[in-house]
């Protein structure tokens, strides 16, 4: 090797992510989402001022992977817990990391009101259209016809109702400052997701109100398909049901066009 070559590190573990193995299944996008959140927190230089709230669900152990203060909430209650933390620590960055069952089912009341209040927290919403931790039951975001262990013949909307679109719902709240949906199914979309996460945390730092980034995610284990097909499932089946886009963007941070997504 020529001696005049300078070693340049182009890729390393973010400081906000602990050097440990995760419990996530192969092909699961939780790891990608974790890394994006950690990179954004590193880039903003706020790791030591950030408090995370973990949910109940597959990401129940998120605090084992993030290198920052964390609380573990009851199922669905992370937004209420984060409210308590933020109200008495307004100078801290407070975020929750929640799955679709946690946020849109058992925690539907809490997420609605945290958005309505314009609580200055950031919510990372992982939507993979299924319950992961309990082994593949129907989620509030399960697609019509989708087979799960509690809808073995497929989700029959006559019986089980329709999937909830949380960005569309929460963007109606006056307190919401930044509500967007992104996807983690390919590199281009992962890059857009990271930009959105950065904006969401910036919205919080600027004190503009409630921010949420929904991330369409894969669950190959409980969908019963290989990882590569799972990414395809997001693209083919989830994107039409959950359109990507900016559902609410506070005027103070522009119209979001630079992020390349329109709601």
């Amino acid at each position: 090797m020529p001696t005049d070559m300078v070693e340049q590190i182009v890729y390393s573990r973010p400081e906000s992510l602990l050097p440990v193995h995760t419990h996530y299944c192969p092909g699961c996008t939780h790891g990608v989402a974790h890394r994006l959140v950690a990179e954004v927190i590193d880039e903003m230089g706020v790791r030591e001022d950030t408090i995370g709230v973990a949910p109940v669900g597959c990401s129940v152990f998120a605090y084992n992977y993030f290198n920052m203060d964390f609380a573990e909430a009851a199922h669905g209650r992370a937004p209420a817990m984060a409210t308590g933390i933020k109200r008495v620590s307004p100078d801290k960055i407070v975020f929750t990391y929640q799955g679709d069952g946690d946020l849109a089912s058992i925690g539907a009341g809490e997420i609605l009101h945290v958005a309505g209040r314009g609580e200055g927290i950031t919510v990372i919403f992982i939507n993979n259209a299924i319950y992961g931790m309990t082994g593949g039951q129907m989620a509030p975001t399960t697609l019509p016809g989708q087979k799960t262990t509690s809808t073995p013949l497929g989700r029959d909307v006559e019986v089980h109702g329709f999937p909830l679109r949380m960005c569309e719902v929460l963007s109606q709240m006056d307190g919401a400052a930044y509500i967007v949906r992104r996807s983690l199914h390919d590199v281009a979309n992962i890059r857009k997701a990271k930009k959105a996460l950065r904006r969401a945390f910036e919205v919080q730092r600027m004190g503009l109100g409630f921010s949420m980034v929904e991330l369409l995610s894969s669950c190959p284990t409980n969908w019963g398909i290989p990882p590569q097909e799972a990414l395809g499932f997001i693209e083919q089946h989830m994107l039409p049901a959950f359109p990507l886009g900016d559902y609410k963007v506070h005027p103070a941070i522009g119209d979001g066009r630079r992020d390349g997504e329109q709601g």
């Binding site: 993030f66 920052m68 609380a71 909430a73 209650r77 817990m81 933020k86 109200r87 008495v88 809490e110």
Partner: protein
């Protein structure tokens, strides 16, 4: 500070303010809503946090979050609302963060009514939520005691990193009587929050506050530690008031409002020459079992009076261990016993003893 005419609900809220309570989260429910209203006005004017939650479920989790951040925090509610808080209280107990809750009990079960009751004894004193834990439970009988116990509750909660419940009822919450408020304490500076609190991992390792131990071995070790703490609380925090028991043949055991009314009946019975006294448990957990044992060793019979079907009665039986006959008199569903009713029970016990002697 001089005595003022104070309403129970507003009095305990102001006592909490003066104890340095930095945040209050609650939801309106009769008969405790005046406490929430007092906090709504008082906390913002002091630059502290008041937030009306969307439900008691959310309120208790906001309390949980604020407690994790290391501030003095409380909620107050009444029976149906407290039922909704049980999930959160179990998590709080499992995370060992200090929290104060005031339960202004009302008639039940179900929606019940808004009249005073002591029907939450089992739910509050025995734990309430899932798993093995007990909050410290303090039962005042006067507005003054409601103030004093609420004021002290914050110290106890922090000392043991546990839940302290002030268990009162609609009588005391709605009652006005002369009482003295304690001095104002400053809230803790943000820089003085406890080392375990979630304050941002600056120049230290991250703090985690959680009630999950996925490995049963570790969960059992945590439970053993929690139980050791419960034994410590039981050894140091028993409180009871004993009145006119020195020469008593009959011992009345009653807490809170019932204890206060029983005392009126006891004074009337004394005027009739009946040697009767009162044991009023103030700490319901830890329960004054030794006081009851001593009582059972000195009196010939015990009368337990409650505004429920006999929930504390079981603890009195455990303390007395069959040494003396125990009679129960209770009113339920929001009914408060009159002194005459209790006096009649005392007379009956006295007559039976006379006949047997």
């Amino acid at each position: 500070m001089a005595k003022e005419l104070l309403e129970g609900n507003r009095a305990f809220a102001e006592a909490a303010v003066r104890a340095g309570c930095e945040a209050y989260f609650g939801y309106p429910i009769t008969p405790q809503t005046e406490a929430l209203e007092h906090m709504a006005a008082r906390m913002p004017e002091l630059g502290r946090v008041f937030l009306q939650a969307e439900s008691e479920v959310a309120a208790v989790n906001m309390v949980y979050g604020a407690a994790c951040a290391g501030v003095r925090v409380m909620s107050s509610s009444s029976s149906p609302g407290v039922s909704l808080m049980m999930e959160g209280l179990s998590y709080i107990a499992g995370s060992e963060v200090p929290v104060v809750l005031v339960d202004v009990m009302r008639g039940g079960p179900g929606l019940g009514n808004i009249a005073p009751s002591q029907g939450d004894y089992n739910q509050i004193v025995k734990g309430g939520g899932h798993g093995d834990y007990r909050p410290i439970v303090l039962a005042p009988a006067t507005v003054q005691e409601l103030i004093d116990l609420t004021y002290e509750a914050f110290d106890l909660a922090e000392k043991y990193r546990c839940i302290v419940v002030v268990l009162t009822d609609g009588n005391l919450g709605q009652m006005m009587e002369p009482a003295e408020l304690p001095p104002m304490r400053a809230v803790r500076a943000a820089s003085e929050r406890p080392a375990w609190a979630l304050t941002g991992a600056r120049n230290r390792k991250p703090n985690l506050i959680s009630s999950i131990y996925i490995d049963p071995v570790k969960e059992e070790i945590f439970n053993q530690q929690l139980q050791a703490k419960q034994r410590e609380i039981e050894a140091h925090e028993v409180r009871a008031r004993e009145v006119l028991l020195d020469d008593a043949d009959i011992g009345v055991v009653a807490f809170g409002t019932s204890g206060r009314i029983a005392y009126s009946a006891i004074q009337q019975a004394r005027a009739e020459g009946i040697r009767v006294g009162l044991l009023r448990p103030i700490s319901l957990y830890p329960f004054p079992y030794d006081h009851v044992r001593r009582l059972a060793e000195t009196v010939r019979s015990i009368l337990v009076v409650e505004m429920n079907s006999g929930q504390m009665l079981e603890d009195v039986r455990l303390g007395a261990l069959g040494r003396v006959p125990i009679r129960f008199y209770g009113r339920m569903g929001g009914m408060t016993p009159m002194p005459d009713e209790i006096l009649e029970e005392i007379r009956k016990l006295h007559a039976e003893r006379g006949a047997g002697a």
